[in-house]
């Protein structure tokens, strides 16, 4: 039943929702011990890509390989190696922080669940609120708890959708340090974020999506913000040139 991988390959993946193309022939590969930043404007396809990587959404065309297997070939064992922190936090507001973590630890069949839960509560800095129901938590507290929920089973591939949402400066910095630690332990981390300040210095590689397409990112020592801006501007300029050509062609 156990399965592991040290390489993730997204091969020519497209995803349509009706007539709308959320992802258009995206190819990407990541190796263990790497943090990849997934940037792009709203609606670029970041969350769709994360959903596909987490096996919750099937690609319309193309495939994702985890090591040498696809999600279908690996079966449920693959999900034991995936951690997902979505924009929604996947927590039960009626349950306490401890009950939430215990539920997911049991669901994943983790041995010594109680110890893992205690450690996770300490990491989330919620040990003193462990027996309070989650509905009374602030967004930042829920975010920290949700991150620990995603990490309980020590996933090989960690997918984070806007992980810095609601975090104060201290918690944001702690998350950055935590992610670097996971990278050093061989985790593949993919982070979709708009918080370029916190992501600066965290990301090993940048992938920029726009209108469902992965844009080429020039190698540069410039800041993350500048590289992202340049990539988007280059793509916009390319698109307008293309439209101009089409327009001329149509007129002539």
């Amino acid at each position: 039943m156990s399965f592991d991988f040290d390489r993730l390959v997204v091969d020519d993946v497209s995803r349509h929702f009706g007539r709308r193309k959320a992802l258009n022939r995206v190819s990407l590969s990541c190796t263990a011990g790497e943090i990849v930043g997934l940037l792009g404007p709203n609606g670029a396809g970041k969350s769709t890509l994360l959903s596909i990587l987490s096996t919750l959404v099937a690609p319309s065309t193309g495939q994702v390989r985890y090591g040498d297997r696809t999600a279908q070939q690996a079966g449920p064992a693959l999900r034991a190696r995936l951690g997902l922190l979505g924009h929604d936090l996947y927590l039960y507001p009626e349950l306490t922080a401890r009950e939430n973590l215990q539920f997911f630890a049991r669901l994943f069949g983790l041995p010594q669940a109680s110890n893992l839960v205690d450690d996770a509560l300490t990491h989330a800095n919620l040990a003193d609120r462990a027996d309070d129901v989650v509905s009374g938590f602030s967004r930042g507290m829920r975010q920290r708890l949700a991150l620990e929920r995603a990490l309980l089973h020590q996933p090989r591939l960690l997918l984070l959708d806007e992980p810095f949402t609601g975090l104060d400066d201290g918690s944001g910095q702690a998350l950055v340090a935590r992610l670097k630690g996971l990278r050093d332990r061989g985790c593949i981390v993919i982070v979709a974020t708009h918080d370029l300040d916190l992501a600066e210095g965290l990301l090993d590689r940048l992938a920029v999506l726009r209108d469902g397409r992965l844009l080429p990112v020039a190698a540069s020592s410039a800041s993350l913000r500048d590289r992202y801006r340049d990539t988007i501007q280059a793509a916009a300029a390319g698109a307008s040139t293309c439209r101009g050509r089409h327009g001329q062609g149509g007129a002539s």
Binding site: L56, A58, A77, L78, L82, Y90, E94, E99, L107
Partner: protein
């Protein structure tokens, strides 16, 4: 198989814990089911004498209505927090999640029926205890048949915009055989002399429906829940 049952048990226990905390679904469904019975009682009981054979139909209509309400609310809860996605990420066979949700739903309907049966019995002068084991068998098999399809549809429609309308529209036509079997079997037991052979026939038919519906639901749950 052990892992499958373990996950189903954990999901059911979680659903019951959440419900014990909020008591939102059990109160609303029981209240709704009791209201249904009272409305029918006002319409169908004249001068203390109920319409003949009405009790069986009213019992099963109330179960179906309350069940639909409960199904919608249970999955609305998962949709609101998007926790259904987290459940689908568990490293086990996804149909185990379905079985867990189904067991939770059956527990809820058991509570509803524990209130409904005596209420219908009092309002419509129906003796449900004439053949208690057969009556229990009808309730159990009928509820499993209804809830098995209902749980699948409610999970499937969790992202649909018109899910509140679509659930009964899809559910009732498919579960009509279950409701008919439940009504006919119950009516057979409520006669002055209970017709036990006839009730046994309807129980066997319900068992057949249960096997078909549960098998089909287990088979289709994963492909339906993976957004393809």
């Amino acid at each position: 198989m052990t892992d499958f049952l373990r996950v189903a048990w954990i999901v059911m226990r979680k659903d019951l814990t959440v419900e014990m905390r909020s008591r939102e679904i059990v109160y609303t469904t029981v209240f709704f089911a009791a209201s249904c019975v009272l409305v029918f009682a006002f319409a169908l009981v004249r001068e203390g004498r109920p319409l003949e054979d009405a009790a069986a139909g009213i019992l099963w209509i109330a179960i179906a209505f309350a069940g639909t309400l409960g199904l919608g609310r249970t999955f609305e809860r998962e949709r609101h927090t998007e926790t259904l996605r987290a459940l689908m990420l568990a490293p086990s066979d996804r149909p185990a999640i379905y079985v867990g949700k189904l067991l939770g739903m059956l527990a809820l309907l058991a509570v509803v029926e524990a209130v409904l049966v005596p209420l219908v019995g009092i309002m419509f002068h129906a003796s449900f205890l004439a053949s208690p084991l057969l009556m229990l068998a009808l309730l159990v098999t009928g509820t499993i048949g209804f809830a098995s399809v209902g749980t699948l549809f409610a999970a499937m429609l969790v992202r649909a915009r018109s899910r509140d309308v679509l659930l009964p529209v899809l559910l009732y036509p498919i579960t009509i055989p279950v409701i008919i079997a439940g009504v006919r079997g119950t009516a057979a037991l409520l006669q002055a002399t209970p017709d036990e052979p006839m009730a046994r026939f309807w129980v066997s038919l319900l068992v057949f429906f249960d096997v078909v519906f549960v098998t089909l639901s287990l088979w289709t749950f994963e492909p339906l829940m993976t957004e393809s």
